[in-house]
Symmetry: C2
Subunit: 502 residues, 2 copies
């Protein structure tokens, strides 16, 4: 038996345990009765500890050494070379972290959650601030354990977006800010171009769920290898190569859109459903990074399903399900209603244009926190300054300000950048899709999504985690991660809707 | 740290893994999309292997030795002494089995299942016979590994019903046969006493599920620590001390009764929900044996919910849900319809009186197979002889004969005896309940189930797996497992219904 084969067998065991943990998680979010909380915490802790122990064992380290020799000379993109390269990166990252730190982070996160909820109830940052201190402190400890040169934030970025750095993101995000801020101002002057009152009407939740499920099946989400459930916060989780589940939420209005939530998660789902079986039960199985994963979910949500072409196809079908609610609408008016741009306080409810600004604000604040130039107590003030500077909004309270996201409940910081990267990468992919699938918009307008999904399968999904986000974007779109494609996309689309010419 | 504490910590890890496996199983039966089959098999195999390795490790053996010294002198029924005693028994049983045998049995079972299904389609025993040969062969190997003196069947009995033997069951079952066979004959002459055509009427499945869930909640099944789902075959599974789930099935008629299936499983569920938290995450958590577990499910299903008192309370409520279907019924007529005794071919559809005969037949055939006095090829003939002898039925084909149960798909044999033991133990408990809760029947007739559940919690559930089936029955009912209480119960109940006097 080669070292590579032995390595694969051990990694398969680790993958099985991780997925067993994912089943435990999914069940907890969607099925478990309240009485199961304590047992489930024990089960998750045990399964997590065993898989971590197995993965970070010296045995894996030795097998990686020997397998590295065996695959020397194999092409960079080969399964064998990629398996050893990516596993080595993750093994080194995992072994660098003291087990105690990992446990402390998990425990601090669990302890912080009730305080975060309480702080939200009172809209009082000072209640959460001591927990936030810990989040920063543990993020720094994690950065130290990982190692860094220019900024400790680099270590956190590297862990979620391998190959990218703080300085690189500063450049990218600076370009975005420069482009978006004036766009938002110009659009704000023309609200009449996209009235969206229709989104607040009353839509039966069961019918919303039904049509949402029908849509994502048409897009290509495979129910033979997945399912849709409700949960408090929508998510996608892979319980196996053939079992990639999504969840959604639903209200009586469609401003908090069940449809777009479901489509978003199905984008994640189609990514994982498109990863080849050969990569299964190894570190190569999964998305290249959070950012690349988000490029897929936001591709389907925004670039496909918030397009005019999509609504030409889909509006008549939706109007059949909700004839009374949509009686005064057309495909064009409904397309516009779903593309209303308006600065707002809550990231998850933001439109396509202002969304990135929410990420940029958080990136700036996190960077200053971890680099020591901002104190936790001063976050609300920094937040309100950023609100004015990025979104032109008046100061707000903590609930609709820095307490709105759950991310800061647990270290490490750095989790937000993927959301903006996803938008940028998606736009780069779209430019390439338009070259490779020239009739792309016409296909959307007749509800033909297969050619797009095939393209994404071939150019993105097929690679699993073989490549870094930059490598993958380069291969699929012809260049590294950049801001210009997204800026072009936004200027064309929203310039047209709002009658603006940049 | 004492050896006992170290032992408990290790056993908790094993329990967490076993329950993670139970979550994987439950999800597979109730939620998993078809594409998940292969992944799930891998996950189950990995989790099962790791928990087996941990449990059978030398470390556990050494801790058991040291903990045994620590608890010497503690009372037999104490938590500490029981933990060491029961864990030692299970550890010795588990370590006696070669890992290869365990794996071979699991694999043979998985391989046999499609052949069993195919054999059923053709109603052809010869298709399944080669698989049955393996079931017998592996059962024998298991018996050899376990060790036995009088009969290899003893080893299989001992593994599912600790402390009981083939000879003991032969005595018990002989008494049952002698009592039941003439009873069934006498009852057969009086079908007019319990007409049951009502069971074949059309009952809306959703309403059936709704009322079934309402009933089991009233009986005492706690939905804060459980839930009800549909599955092909009803079952109960404990995913944690606070998470005991049940499933049921439903058809448009009520002969294949959703109500009684749900009640049956809730009886298993209330047992596990009644086990004290102190026993959690150890081998002491769970039912004393399959037979004792069945005593609880069949107690609620038959002794409570097939009683006249129960239908005095419950018929008016059911008639409100199904007014048209039950318009010509009374509590008395519906009670009788649900107690129609009639020899039939299918065990799971059998009435309370003939049910035991189905178990007795299988016990006889299994014993002969494993003792070598019956060849696998001759099973259909032996089956038909037994049909005549026990149930007075004409010969039948393999589908409604020896291919009807899934149990023989996988070794070991011996799984059926618990069903009959459950009936006997339940009747013994009932006699004691009538002493300790004198107004028992009146309580049922007004829908007051709390005193019964409290009694079962205290006398049965509270002990978890501390005691063997015989020890537990002795403590709770005042004597060892016997047949006379059940025979008395059946003679009184069915003698009254059918106007017979034995």
């Amino acid at each position: 038996m080669s070292a590579l084969d032995e390595l694969r067998a051990d990694l398969a065991t680790v993958a099985d345990l991780e997925r067993a943990g994912a089943v435990l998680d999914w069940d907890q979010e969607t099925q478990m009765p309240p009485g199961g909380v304590e047992d489930r915490a024990n089960q998750l802790a045990t399964v997590g500890r065993l898989s971590h122990e197995l993965f970070t064992s010296d045995r894996i380290g030795e097998l990686l050494e020997r397998a590295g020799e065996e695959v020397a000379g194999q092409p960079y993109e080969s399964f064998e070379a990629s398996l050893v390269r990516v596993t080595k990166r993750e093994w080194e990252q995992a072994t660098r972290l003291p087990a105690e730190l990992v446990e402390n982070i998990a425990r601090a996160g669990a302890e912080a959650r009730p305080d975060w909820l309480r702080a939200r109830q009172e809209s009082d940052w000072s209640i959460f601030a001591p927990r936030m201190e810990r989040t920063v402190e543990f993020s720094l400890a994690l950065a130290e354990a990982h190692g860094w040169t220019a900024s400790p934030y680099d270590a956190l970025i590297e862990r979620s977006e391998p190959g990218l750095s703080t300085r690189f993101l500063e450049g990218l995000f600076g370009e975005l800010k420069e482009a978006i801020v004036p766009m938002v101002r110009a659009i704000a002057a023309r609200p009449e171009a996209a009235p969206d009152e229709v989104l607040d009407r009353d839509f039966d939740p069961e019918l919303q769920l039904g049509i949402s499920l029908a849509v994502v099946q048409e897009l290509g989400y495979d129910l033979e290898r997945g399912r849709l459930d409700k949960s408090a916060h929508p998510f996608c989780v892979s319980l196996g190569a053939g079992d990639v589940r999504i969840t959604t939420r639903v209200k009586r209005n469609i401003r908090d859109s069940c449809l777009f939530s479901t489509i978003h998660e199905s984008g994640h789902g189609m990514y994982d459903q498109g990863i080849p079986k050969i990569l299964d039960r190894s570190p190569l199985w999964g998305g290249a990074s959070s950012g690349v994963h988000e490029s897929q979910s936001r591709f389907w949500e925004n670039l496909v399903c918030r397009s005019r072409a999509f609504w030409i196809y889909f509006f008549p079908r939706l109007a059949k399900v909700f004839p009374a609610q949509l009686a005064d609408q057309t495909a064009e008016s409904f397309f516009r209603a779903n593309n209303r741009v308006r600065p707002s306080y809550i990231r998850v409810d933001a439109d396509e244009v202002t969304y990135n600004l929410h990420v940029l604000m958080r990136f700036e604040i996190e960077k200053q926190l971890i680099e020591g130039s901002l104190a936790v107590g001063d976050v609300p003030e920094a937040w309100n300054q950023a609100l004015d500077q990025y979104l032109g909004l008046a100061p707000t309270g903590a609930l609709t300000g820095p307490l709105q996201d759950i991310h800061w409940v647990q270290a490490p910081l750095g989790g937000f950048v993927g959301y903006a990267l996803g938008n940028l990468i998606g736009a780069q992919l779209l430019e390439r899709v338009r070259v490779d699938v020239p009739e792309f918009d016409s296909l959307l307008a007749v509800g033909s999504f297969g050619p797009l999904l095939e393209w994404l399968h071939r150019e993105v999904h097929a690679h699993g985690r073989k490549f870094t986000p930059d490598e993958l974007t380069e291969r699929a779109s012809g260049g590294p991660i950049r801001s210009d494609a997204w800026i072009r996309y936004a200027r064309v689309k929203f310039g047209e809707i709002y009658g603006l010419d940049w």
